[in-house]
C-alpha cells in the first residue's frame, strides 16, 4: 500500500513541478493592434494538399506580409464547426473564415449573431429562393465562390490543342451540379478551338465516395484512353489518382485539379486547373485590414486570379508556344467578357 501512495505522491509532485515550468518562447493568446483572423478548417481537412491547405498558405502569407495574427482551429467532429467559429467570433476576431461549403449554415447563423465580426466562407453554398434568385448572405459575410468553369474552359482548349485527337476525356467525381460546372467549362473550351471535337464525360458515382475511389478512376480513364482519348481532365478528388495511374500506364496525358498535381505523375500531367483558395483567403484578410471589406457573393474567376492553370518549369515543355499564345488570347476574351463560359451542362 505504501508503494501506491509513493507512486501517487511522486505523480502529484511531478505534475505540480511541471505546471510551474514556463518555457521561454511560450505564447499567450495574442491580443493588441493589427488584424485578428480566425480560420476553422473542415474535419480532417488539414493536409489535403488542396482546399484546406490552400487556405492555410493564404493565411500564412497574410501573417508574413500583412502582419495579421491568425488562429487556426481544426474541428474534431461535426458540431465543432459551429463551436470553433463561435469561439473565434466570441473572442472578437476581426475576420472569421470557414473553409468549405459544409460551413454554410453555421456561418450564416453566426454572422447574424455577431454583427460586428466579419465572416468569410470559402465555397459558401448560396441558396436560391423559390423564384430561383440567389439569397444574399448577411452583410457581414462574404461568400468566396470560384468560377471553376472559366479555368476549366482554358484547360479544355489546351487539351484540344495539345491532344492531337478529336476525342477528349473528362472524369468527374460525384455526379452533382458543382462538378458539372467543370465539365461544362471544359467542353466549351474544347469546342471553342476545335468545333468538331467531342468530350467523353463520365462520373465515378452518385455518393461522396465517388471522390475517394482511385480504382474506379483508373477504370474510367483506361476505357477512355482506349477509345482514342489523349488527354483526360479530372475533377474527382483522390479518384483522380487512378486517372493519373492510367495516364502513366498508357503514356498519355491527364490534367489535375484544385492544386498543382504535377508531382503525382511527373511527365504525364499536362497541367492542373487550380483554384486560388490561398489568394481568396489572403484577399479577404487584406480587405479587412484596408477596411474595404464588403459582404455578399464574390465570384472569383480568371480576372480575379481565382482560377488558373499551371504553366511553370515542370510542364512548360508540354505546351508549345503557339498554343500558349492562343490560350492567353482566350483568357483575355473571357476577362473582357467577349466569351461567356457556361456553368451548367
Amino acid at each position: 500500500m505504501r508503494k501506491l501512495f509513493t507512486v501517487l505522491g511522486v505523480l502529484v509532485a511531478l505534475h505540480l513541478i511541471l505546471l510551474l515550468v514556463e518555457p521561454a518562447g511560450a505564447s499567450k493568446v495574442a491580443t493588441g493592434e493589427g488584424v485578428d483572423v480566425g480560420i476553422v478548417f473542415d474535419v480532417g481537412g488539414r493536409g489535403d494538399k488542396s482546399f484546406n491547405d490552400g487556405a492555410f498558405i493564404g493565411a500564412e502569407r497574410a501573417q508574413r506580409e500583412l502582419g495579421a495574427r491568425v488562429r487556426f482551429i481544426e474541428p474534431g467532429e461535426g458540431s465543432d464547426r459551429e463551436a470553433g467559429l463561435r469561439l473565434l467570433a466570441a473572442e472578437g476576431m476581426d475576420l472569421v473564415i470557414g473553409v468549405g461549403f459544409i460551413f454554410t449554415d453555421d456561418l450564416a447563423l453566426l454572422a447574424r449573431e455577431y454583427p460586428n465580426v466579419k465572416f468569410a466562407g470559402v465555397d459558401y453554398a448560396v441558396a436560391l429562393d423559390s423564384a430561383g434568385n440567389a439569397i444574399q448572405p448577411p452583410s457581414n459575410l462574404v461568400a468566396l465562390k470560384f468560377r471553376e468553369e472559366q479555368g476549366s474552359f482554358l484547360v479544355g482548349a489546351l487539351a484540344a490543342l495539345v491532344g492531337k485527337s478529336k476525342k477528349l476525356g473528362f472524369v468527374g467525381g460525384m455526379d452533382i451540379p458543382l462538378i458539372h460546372k467543370f465539365e461544362a467549362g471544359y467542353r466549351a473550351g474544347a469546342t471553342a478551338v476545335c468545333p468538331d471535337c467531342t468530350v467523353i464525360a463520365q462520373y465515378a458515382g452518385a455518393t461522396p465516395e465517388a471522390f475517394k475511389n482511385p480504382g474506379r478512376g483508373q477504370e474510367l480513364a483506361l476505357s477512355q484512353y482506349q477509345q482514342g482519348v489523349n488527354v483526360i481532365f479530372h475533377a474527382s478528388g483522390s479518384t483522380g489518382l487512378g486517372v493519373f495511374e492510367a495516364a502513366r500506364r498508357q503514356r498519355r496525358l491527364a490534367i489535375g485539379v484544385d492544386a498543382d498535381q504535377y508531382s503525382e505523375a511527373p511527365g504525364y500531367i499536362l497541367t492542373s486547373m487550380v483554384k486560388g483558395v490561398d489568394q481568396a483567403v489572403y484577399g479577404a484578410i487584406e480587405d479587412v485590414r484596408a477596411q474595404r471589406f464588403e459582404g455578399g457573393i464574390r465570384q472569383l474567376g480568371l480576372a480575379e486570379e481565382g482560377v488558373n492553370f499551371i504553366d511553370d518549369a515542370n510542364n512548360r515543355s508540354l505546351i508549345p508556344d503557339s498554343v500558349r499564345t492562343r490560350i492567353e488570347a482566350l483568357r483575355q476574351d473571357i476577362i473582357a467578357g467577349k466569351i461567356v463560359v457556361p456553368a451548367t451542362r
Binding site: 511531478l14 511541471l18 518555457p23 511560450a26
Partner: protein, 361 residues
C-alpha cells in the same frame, strides 16, 4: 471485467469511498504528467494550456453546455459498448448504429406532418432512432447467435456497409443542394438548454441528455436488477457454464446486441432532434469508436460510463479551446494516453488494493 461488490474488508487507512476512486485517479495523474511533458515539447506552458482547457469547458456555461452536448452522444455509445462487454461481446459497430439511429430519427421526423404535437413526435422519433440502431446490430447479433460468427468482424464490416448505404441515401434520395444533409425534420425537435436558461445560449446542449441519462439508469436496472440482466452477465462471465445452468446463451447474445444497438442509435437523437434538426453525413464521426474507450474507462458500469463520457467530452471540447497554443493532435494523443493509462494502471492499482485487503483479512 469490473467487480461490483465493495470489498468486504477495507484496507486500513483508506476511506471506503476513496477506494473505487484510486485506480482512475492514478491513471488520470499519469495522463496529466505525460500531458505536461507533451505541452512542453511544443514550447508552451502546461499551466496556461490546462487553464485554457478548463476555462473553455467547465469555466463557463457555454463551454459546459458543449461538454454536456458531446457527453450525451458518448454516454449512449459508451453504454452500448459496455452492455455488449458485460455479455462477453465486443460491439465495435456503435459507430454505424449511431449513424443509422440518427438517420432513422431524421427520416421519421421528415415523414411526420408538420405540427405533430411534440409529445407524440419526440417519442416516435426517439423510438425510430433506437429501432434504427437495433436494425444495424441485428445482423451481427443474428450471425453470432445462429452461426457463432465473430461479432467483432461483423460489426466492423457493418460500419462500412451502413456508412455507404447512408451516403447513398443522403446523396440521392434526401439531399439538399450543395450540402451533405437531409432537409429539416417537420416534427420531433427537442428544445435546447438555452430555451430555459439564456446562460447556455449558443451551445448545442439540449434536453436529449435526459434520454441519455435515462438510458444509463435503465441499463443499470436491466443489468443488475432483472433476470435478463443476470443471464446477460452469466453469459458474459462463462458462456459454457451459463448454458449448462439453463441459460440459452445464443438468444441472450441476440437480445443484448439488439439492446446495445438501440442504445447506440439513441445517441443519434442528440444531433438530429436536439441540435441541427437534420441528419448530416458524419454528424458524430468517431463517437461510436470513442464509445469503446468510454466503456473501458467507465469500467462497463452505467455510472462509470456517464462519468467517463463527461471526461472525454471535456477533452474533446477542450481541444478546441487550447487549439490556439497546441495542435489538436496533442489532445488526441492525450486522450489516447488516458485510455492507455486506465488500461494499465487500473488493474495494477486494484491488484495492490486486493493484496492489502488479503493481508488484513
Amino acid at each position: 471485467m469490473a467487480t461490483d461488490r465493495a470489498p468486504a474488508v477495507s484496507p486500513p487507512g483508506i476511506p471506503r469511498w476513496l477506494q473505487p476512486l484510486l485506480p482512475p485517479l492514478t491513471a488520470l495523474l499519469i495522463a496529466a504528467v505525460v500531458g505536461d511533458l507533451l505541452i512542453l515539447t511544443f514550447g508552451q506552458s502546461p499551466r496556461e494550456v490546462f487553464r485554457l482547457l478548463i476555462e473553455g469547458t467547465w469555466g463557463n456555461a457555454y463551454g459546459l453546455g458543449q461538454v454536456l452536448y458531446k457527453a450525451t452522444t458518448l454516454i449512449c455509445t459508451g453504454l452500448a459498448v459496455a452492455l455488449g462487454i458485460r455479455a462477453g461481446m465486443f460491439n465495435i459497430g456503435a459507430e454505424g448504429q449511431l449513424a443509422l439511429g440518427g438517420f432513422a430519427a431524421a427520416a421519421i421526423g421528415l415523414l411526420l406532418p408538420a405540427g405533430t404535437p411534440a409529445l407524440v413526435a419526440i417519442p416516435v422519433c426517439v423510438a425510430a432512432a433506437c429501432a434504427g440502431g437495433s436494425a444495424g446490430a441485428a445482423v451481427p447479433g443474428v450471425l453470432k447467435a445462429r452461426f457463432g460468427a465473430s461479432e467483432v468482424i461483423v460489426t466492423i464490416m457493418m460500419n462500412f456497409i451502413i456508412a455507404a448505404l447512408l451516403n447513398w441515401a443522403v446523396a440521392t434520395q434526401l439531399n439538399v443542394a450543395e450540402s451533405l444533409h437531409t432537409p429539416e425534420i417537420h416534427a420531433g425537435a427537442v428544445p435546447r438548454l438555452a430555451a430555459v436558461s439564456a446562460l447556455f445560449s449558443g451551445s448545442a446542449a439540449n434536453f436529449t441528455i435526459l434520454f441519455a441519462l435515462g438510458a444509463a439508469v435503465f441499463t443499470g436496472w436491466w443489468l443488475f436488477r432483472t433476470r435478463a440482466g443476470y443471464e446477460l452477465r452469466a453469459a458474459g462471465l462463462q458462456p459454457d457454464a451459463a448454458e449448462y445452468g439453463g441459460i440459452r446463451v445464443g438468444s441472450v447474445w441476440l437480445r443484448t446486441m439488439l439492446l446495445s444497438g438501440a442504445l447506440a442509435g439513441l445517441g443519434g437523437v442528440n444531433y438530429v432532434l436536439g441540435y441541427k434538426q437534420y441528419y448530416e453525413e458524419g454528424f458524430a464521426a468517431g463517437a461510436g469508436y470513442l464509445g469503446i474507450a468510454v466503456a473501458l474507462v467507465g469500467r462497463n458500469h452505467p455510472a462509470g460510463v456517464v462519468i467517463s463520457a463527461l471526461l472525454f467530452a471535456t477533452l474533446s471540447q477542450g481541444a478546441l479551446a487550447v487549439n490556439a497554443l497546441v495542435p489538436k493532435q496533442m489532445v488526441d494523443v492525450l486522450t489516447a494516453i488516458v485510455i492507455i493509462a486506465v488500461a494499465t494502471a487500473v488493474p495494477e492499482v486494484e491488484r495492490l488494493l486486493r493484496a492489502v485487503r488479503g493481508k488484513t483479512a
